[in-house]
Amino acid sequence: MGTGSIYRKLDWKLIAYYLVLVVFGWLNIFSSVHAENSILFDFSQRYGMHFIWMCISIALAAAIIFIIPSKIYNATAWIVYGLMIVLLLATIVIGVEVKGSKSWISLGGIQFQPAEFSKITTSLALAALMGKYGFLFKRTDCWIKACATIGLPMLLILLEKETGSMLVYIGFLLVFFREGMSGWFLLAGLFAVLEFILGLVFSPFVAILVLTGCFLLLYFIKQHQAPLGIIVTVVAVTFLAFLPKILSIDAVAAKNPFSADIWVALAGCAAALFFLAKDLVLRHKNQFLHFLLLSYIVFTGFIFSVQFIFNNVLQDHQRARIEVLLGMKDDPKGVGYNVHQSLIAIGSGGLFGKGFMQGTQTRFDFVPEQTTDFIFCTIGEEWGFVGSLAVLVLYFLLLARILNKAEQNDDAFTRIYGYCVASCLLMHILINICMTIGLMPVIGIPLPFLSYGGSSLLAFTILLFIFIRLDLDQWRYLKQ
């Protein structure tokens, strides 16, 4: 068989999804910025520039498929990773400040964001690390190495004050999960977010009640005593809920220097420590119970540090965005402005939308960053629910196909890289869209393949096409 037939095995479906998204994005960028008499190929305008970037991206994609040897990725993964770390470091020093974050580098008049590209190098490095024979998540040195691989770029990007891009790396935990990390870590992460919100919106007391309830339930379920567990949980939580009342009875209150949440936390942690110590002395081998008790103590600590994290670690604008999102503050003209305008735009789209270039919200730039981070508004407004749904379905098909292809691949490097690609895309898609529809605080990261911006389009193209190229190798081996 000649080489031509190999390319018949190219994953044309993935390529088609990609092309549809990119062209659709371009049309929406055009629609967002067009004025009277504008033409599609006006290079002084964003849509003209984006067209150039599209051509560059597609040319690069072709080069990745047809020219660049696929062996190079695994072989040079660490070198490229190292170079990117140097580049990220350099950005912190010589970067250009754009909108509060120092994450752009200016090279010969063209500005680009190294952070966009470090996703690729991190993915390759992870694939090289975890794809090696003998890598096991159970081994401490292994998972520490894996965490360090994603932790280093995260730290550097955080130092560039580009928190949004940093969050994307959390998606690599999904790859870890696939490669053997316990699912409890993911659940614990989600639970931490929930506790964070509860602690902020209500009070640490409510957060502790929920924590205690969940852990009691979990324990009894694991002991196969679910009915008993429900009863115990309801009784315990109800009793604890009355604790503030009891503590504020005058006679009690007189001798009571702590507030209710401190009492519960102290009592809970003391009990947990007691059982932990008892089990260790009696050499019971109930690992799950130990894990549960330790987690309880850690989470209690976390709940009490929420206020501190919120007030001291987060930056002012991040704090404000979270407050607005959680309904703690109403600020339609300030921080909530973007999201509100975005919701008006998307909401006004209705079922079928207003039609291409008919968006009214777009005309006076009421939605800021309409072509970059808020491109989904234009889609929602002009193409309606049907259009938004189509985009989401397309994204889902793309992700599912990457996962399936990755899973089918015999080469661990390709599989892990595929999962990395899917995780990056997923995080971008979810964070971006959830932001525009008010489910997440405003975090400025682009929507893959749709947003305006040379850096991001180029980076996502490279990310995806390396996978398509690696996937092609599967067939090459079969033929040999």
Partner: protein
Amino acid sequence: MALSISRKNILLAAIAIAFLAVISRLFYVQIIEDKYRINAENNALKYKINYPARGRILDRNGEIIVDNKIIYDLEVVPIDVQPFDTLAFCEIFDLDPEFVKERFDYYKRYRSRIGFGSVTFLKQVPGEMYDKFAEKSYMFPGFDAVVRTARAYPVNSGGNLLGYISEVDQNFLNTHEGYAMGDFAGKTGMEMAFEDRLKGEKGYEIFLRDAHNRIQEHYEDGIYDKEAVGGSDVMTTIDLHLQAYGQQLMQNKVGSVVAIEPSTGEILAMVSSPGIDVSQLAEINKYYSELINDPYKPMFNRAVQSAQPPGSVFKVVNGLIGLQEGVLTPDTKYPCHAGYSVGRVHLGCHNHVSPIDMYQSLMMSCNAYYCYVLRNILDNSKYASVGDAFDKWREYVTSFGFGTKLGTDIPYELAGNVPTRAYYDKIHGKDRWKSLSIISLSIGQGELGCTPLHLANMCATVANRGYFYTPHYVKYNPGDEVDSTYTTRHYTMVDTTYFPEVVKGMELAVQGGPGATARSVAIPGIVMCGKTGTAQNPHGSDHSVFMCFAPKDNPKIAVVAYVENAGFGATWAAPIASLLVEKYLNGEICSERKYLEQRMFEANLLSRVKTK
């Protein structure tokens, strides 16, 4: 293997759940929730932009230099327009029916793009037209007028000092944040310098439209509306009437006049002639090509952008350097027999008594005297070479502000030129030049390029006896946050003790009697100090230059007049500058000098200026 497959499916399921959550939220926002109702067929939000009034520009006494007047932009929602009486419409707005037809053809062609939107039909409709329209507006459904403000100028004073505003273009938008098409911004002069304070903030109102595209109500009771915030007024240091008087004196002449209050660095007047008339300023688009093609370049702010040789007024600087360097004392006498001759070098001078001391040299503006001074400075044996001495000289000169941008708030200020040692090395060969080679610097000729503002600043420095405040035209009121560069005394490298000596010479030049170059412009009752200059230049007749300050003690005003190709300093620049001084200090011109004022008003020197 069974485990890993299930993990993939767990992930896929989790992704599906997340996507479903997003989709249900979209379903809620786009289809169920009424708050964002407005769908394509019936309702739509209409955003109405409210433009803020631009801040006014005031003079130092609070009088208005630049004001606002209300004009209207006529907007039209093409889809709402019904057949109307085109003739009556054209009559109101003084239009050609053909124009109306063209516009509507255009709207028809782009109807899908315009949709329910409104477009601007006519810009800057004056109030009288709007009144006529308002009476009959029921006849023209779909048309609506939006209030905007345009610039108005109560007094013809300022011209290109004030600068103009114009609609922003794509270039401007690319480099400035917070502007949109249709906005105006200051492009030159004060309008540009104070743009941030003058512009204000745009506001908008959001309305709901019903199925008939009629505006119904404020969306959400207006909580998302934003009020326009008018720009702040800016007080300047300009004296409105002095400025106007300066323009009157300079009419039909090419050049500039700059007046500074020495004790503060505040610019009292800054005339560049010919300038832009304020009537043209208000409608700059209409006159733009005419102005840009005018051979006398009225758009060009000569006061800060025209660097020319300073001529004899520069002798003051050389004198001061000589005193500081110890190569000259006020009593040093030098001979002059109609010039200075050494070998083949000859620099001419006019007839006056000889020998003379430093005071007399300033009084009579002797060229030869300053040839001696400069040579003494440059051939000073305490320096290893002429080059080293020249470096020192250059340092002195730049300490007066020459050859540098002064750091004023005036846009497009030029640095001018003070030649460097490297420059002469290049011309003559390294260290192959002598003090004689550059002797013309002694009388302010040669490669020196100074703007009238530089000269005015130097004059203010002498008036202050040794220091200057950076000239500026923003006026601070008590309590304002003051830019410290404007309140810092900048000392020159010449000790303040030497300044009274040159002041005495400058006093003699005006008040000194026979031989004094500027005695014809002495003002009765005011002790004025001055120095004439006649700057040779490659463009034609000599430029007429004069700098002066008054009163001698506690000077209130320092003026420089620079009249291009006009001849002797004493003939044109001196009368103009002295009249300005008199006007400022006394409020009027005394009767014996009325003829002088008359002559300045009437003189037309434009023909002396080569426009090619």
